[in-house]
Symmetry: C2
Subunit: 409 residues, 2 copies
C-alpha cells in the first residue's frame, strides 16, 4: 500500500514523496525540493528538483474543480487527455512538446520535462523579445499534429477511434461559451468589459445581428466538425520558448475539431502582442521595428503553414480522393477561412469575455488601452465576416494593420 493509491490533492511535501516513490527520475540519495509554480486557471503545477544534481521534473495535477473557481466542476479525465495528447504530439512533432515521464490515472497527475530554461511566450513578447525561429517551429507543430490526424492521412476507422478517445465535453463547453457565445450576447452576464469600452462593445458586438449569426454558424462548426486532433488552447500562454527552442504545453482542451481553431489562436495572440507593442513602446523607431517583426511573423506563420501543409499532404495522404489536386486546394482554403474566423473570435473573447490577456490588461494608459481594444475588435469583425477572403499571410495582417493606420493614437 502506498498513500498515493487513492486520489488526493497534493501539497509540495506530498509531491516530493510522490517523486521519490513513483518516478524513475532522481537518484536514490537525491535531496529533493518542490514548489508550486502554476499560474493557469485549471490545474496545480509543481516543480521538483534535486539540490545535489541538475535534475528536475514538472508534476501537474488536476483537481476536481477549476483552480480559479469551484464553480467549474471538471472531470480529472482532462489529465489523461493531456498526457495522451502530449505523448502523441511528441511522436508527430518531435522536440516541440515536453518529454513525458508518466501518467498516473489514480492521482490524475503526469510528470514531464522541466522547461524552466524556457519562458512563457506571452511574457517574452510583452518584453518585446524576438524569436526568429518561432514561425518555423509552430508551423511544423501545427501541420504535423493537425493534418496528420485527419481523415486525409489516418485510416478512417482508426481516426474514428481517436475521435472517441478524445471526446472532451467539459473543456469544449468552456470554449463554446467563452469563445463562441458570450462575446456576442453576454447571455450569462459574466463578460468583463473595460468600462470605457462598454457602450462601443454593446453596439458593435452584441448589437450586430450579422455578427451573431456568424458566431452561431462558427459555434456549430466547432461542435460538429471532427476534422483533426486539436491542441484546443494554442495561445502564447501555452507555449514555452527560448531563442532556439519552442515547446507547446497544456493540451488539455484537445479534441477533434476544425484545424483553423488552433491556427487562428496563434495568429490572434500574435496580434495581441502587436497591439501591446503599439501601445507600450514609446520610441517610434523601436516600435516600428518590433511591430514589423510581429507582422512578418504572422505572415510567415500563414505562408509556412500553407507550404508545409501542401508538402505534408502530398507526402502522407492516404485517402484516395486526396490525389485530386483541386480537393487539396479546396480543403486548405477552408482551413484558412476557419483560421481567419477564429482569429476574430479569439480577439473578441479575450477583450470582452471572462478570460483576458495580459498583453491588453497591462496597458496602463486608459486611452492607449481603449485604442488597443478597438483596433483588435474592429479587425476581429473583419476576420469573422470576411473570412472567405483570407488566403495568404499578407491577407491575415491587413485587417489589424489597416485598423492601426486608421485609428488615431
Amino acid at each position: 500500500m502506498s498513500r498515493y493509491d487513492e486520489y488526493f490533492l497534493m501539497k509540495p511535501a506530498d509531491v516530493i514523496g510522490y517523486a521519490k516513490e513513483k518516478l524513475n527520475v532522481f537518484d536514490a540519495d537525491a535531496d529533493l525540493d518542490c514548489k508550486e509554480i502554476g499560474d493557469g486557471n485549471l490545474n496545480f503545477v509543481f516543480r521538483v528538483w534535486d539540490r545535489k544534481s541538475s535534475k528536475s521534473v514538472i508534476i501537474k495535477q488536476a483537481g476536481p474543480t477549476a483552480r480559479i473557481s469551484d464553480a467549474f466542476v471538471l472531470s480529472t479525465d482532462r489529465n489523461r487527455i493531456e498526457s495522451e495528447v502530449l505523448a502523441l504530439e511528441g511522436r508527430l512533432a518531435p522536440g516541440l512538446v515536453p518529454a513525458m515521464y508518466g501518467y498516473d490515472s489514480v492521482m490524475s497527475c503526469c510528470a514531464m520535462e522541466d522547461l524552466s530554461d524556457h519562458q512563457i511566450m506571452r511574457a517574452a513578447l510583452m518584453q518585446h523579445k524576438k524569436f526568429p525561429l518561432f514561425a518555423d517551429h509552430i508551423t511544423t507543430f501545427m501541420v504535423n499534429t493537425l493534418l496528420l490526424t485527419t481523415d486525409v492521412v489516418v485510416e478512417h476507422k482508426q481516426k474514428k477511434a481517436l475521435v472517441g478517445q478524445y471526446i472532451n465535453p467539459e473543456l469544449c463547453e468552456i470554449t463554446e461559451d467563452l469563445v463562441y457565445t458570450e462575446p456576442f450576447n453576454d447571455y450569462k452576464g459574466r463578460n468583463d468589459v473595460f468600462p470605457p469600452n462598454l457602450e462601443w462593445v454593446k453596439r458593435e458586438l452584441y448589437g450586430d445581428k450579422e455578427l451573431r449569426l456568424e458566431a452561431a454558424r462558427l459555434k456549430f462548426e466547432f461542435m460538429t466538425n471532427a476534422q483533426a486532433l486539436l491542441h484546443g488552447d494554442l495561445h502564447t500562454g501555452s507555449i514555452f520558448i527560448k531563442a532556439d527552442s519552442t515547446k507547446v504545453i497544456d493540451p488539455e482542451f484537445a479534441f477533434y475539431g476544425p484545424i483553423g481553431y488552433d491556427v487562428g489562436n496563434v495568429v490572434a495572440n500574435l496580434i495581441f502582442a502587436w497591439a501591446n507593442a503599439e501601445a507600450t513602446i514609446a520610441n517610434e523607431a523601436e516600435r516600428a521595428e518590433y511591430t514589423a517583426w510581429l507582422e512578418t511573423t504572422i505572415v510567415q506563420v500563414i505562408d509556412l503553414f500553407r507550404a508545409k501543409f501542401v508538402k505534408a499532404w502530398d507526402e502522407h495522404a492516404t485517402e484516395v480522393f486526396a490525389r485530386e489536386e483541386s480537393f487539396r486546394d479546396w480543403y486548405l482554403a477552408t482551413v484558412l477561412r476557419d483560421t481567419a474566423a477564429v482569429t476574430g473570435l479569439e480577439l473578441c473573447r479575450r477583450i470582452v469575455g471572462l478570460a483576458h490577456v495580459k498583453d491588453i490588461t497591462t496597458i496602463a494608459d486608459e486611452a492607449a488601452r481603449l485604442r488597443a481594444e478597438r483596433l483588435c475588435l474592429t479587425a476581429a469583425k473583419e476576420y469573422i465576416k470576411q473570412r472567405d477572403g483570407f488566403r495568404t499571410g499578407a491577407d491575415f495582417v491587413r485587417p489589424f494593420k489597416g485598423a492601426a493606420e486608421r485609428f488615431a493614437r
Copy 2:
C-alpha cells in the same frame, strides 16, 4: 448454465430454444415454430411464432461477417447499435419503429415486434401501391429522430456522449466506399455497371473532374460532420409499410452524421420507384397517375419536413443562438443542400456501385432500363453539383422530371 451463454450463430431450432428460455413473449405451453426470413446483406432474421396463439416475434442476430460475403468482417457491436438506436427512436418517434423486447450482448441478437402484416416499402412501390400517409409519417420520423438529437436541442455535453456511444467505424466505412467514393472512380474495381451503360458511366461519372471534387467534399462532410444521430440506411428497403402504418427498421448504420444523409436517401429511393414506374407501367394514364403520386410524395416529404423542422426547432431548441431566426433558416438551408447532394449520391451508387436496387434491376427491357438509369444519373449530377439551389419540394422533383421529359422513350 445455458447454451446461450456463449455466442454461436443460431439455426431456427436454436432460436426456438432461445425464445423459450430467454424471452417473456410466449405462453409456457406455446408450440413454437421458426423460419429464417432475412433478405438483407448483413444479418440473420428469424420469425418465431406460436402455432396455438397469434403471438410472434422477430429475432435478429449479427454474424461475425456480412451475410453476403465473408470478406466484410464486421463487429457484432452493430447489433448493440441497432438495439439501442431502435429504443431511442421509439422514444423520439413513437409508433414509427418496431417495439423492442430485448437485446442480448452475448448472442449479439435482439428481439422485436413482428411486422409481418406490413410489407417492405420497396416491394410495395414496385407493385405500384400508394401510401397517402407515408410523407407525413416519414417526416415525423426524420424531424424527431434527427433534429432532436442535434446540438440545437440536446445539451452539448450529453450530445458528445451520444456521439461517442454511436461511433460506428465499420458500417461507416461501407458507406464511405460504396456511396461516396467508388461510384466516381471505381477505385476498388468492384462497381457493377449495366453493360450497355458502361461507356456513358465512364465518361459522365468517372471522367467528370468537377463531380469527383464534389464527391470528395461530400465524403469529408459525411466523415466529419457530427450533426445528428442518423438512421444511416434510410432507403425503402428499411421501411415496413401498410396503409395506416409506417415502421422504420434496420438502423445498424446509425452514427452521428449530416441530417441530409437520411432525408436524401428517402428522396432518392422514391425517385427509383418513379423510374421503375416510368419504365414498367405500359398504360399511359395509369403511369401518369402513379408517377404523379410519387412526385407529390417527394414534394410533401420535403415541404412537410421543412414545416415540421421549423416547428420542432421553435418548440424544442435549447441552444441560445437558436433564438436567432436567421440562424435557424441558415441551418435548415444547409440541411436541404445536403439532402440534394445525397439524393444524387444515392442515385449514382445504386446504379453503378456494388449494391443495386430492384426498382432498376428488374426492368426487363434493355432500352427501358438504360433510359431509367440515364434519367437517374443525369438528375443525380444536377442534385450534386447544383445542391445549393434546393429549397422546396418543387425544387427536388425538377431534375428527375426534367430529365424524364427530355429523354425520349
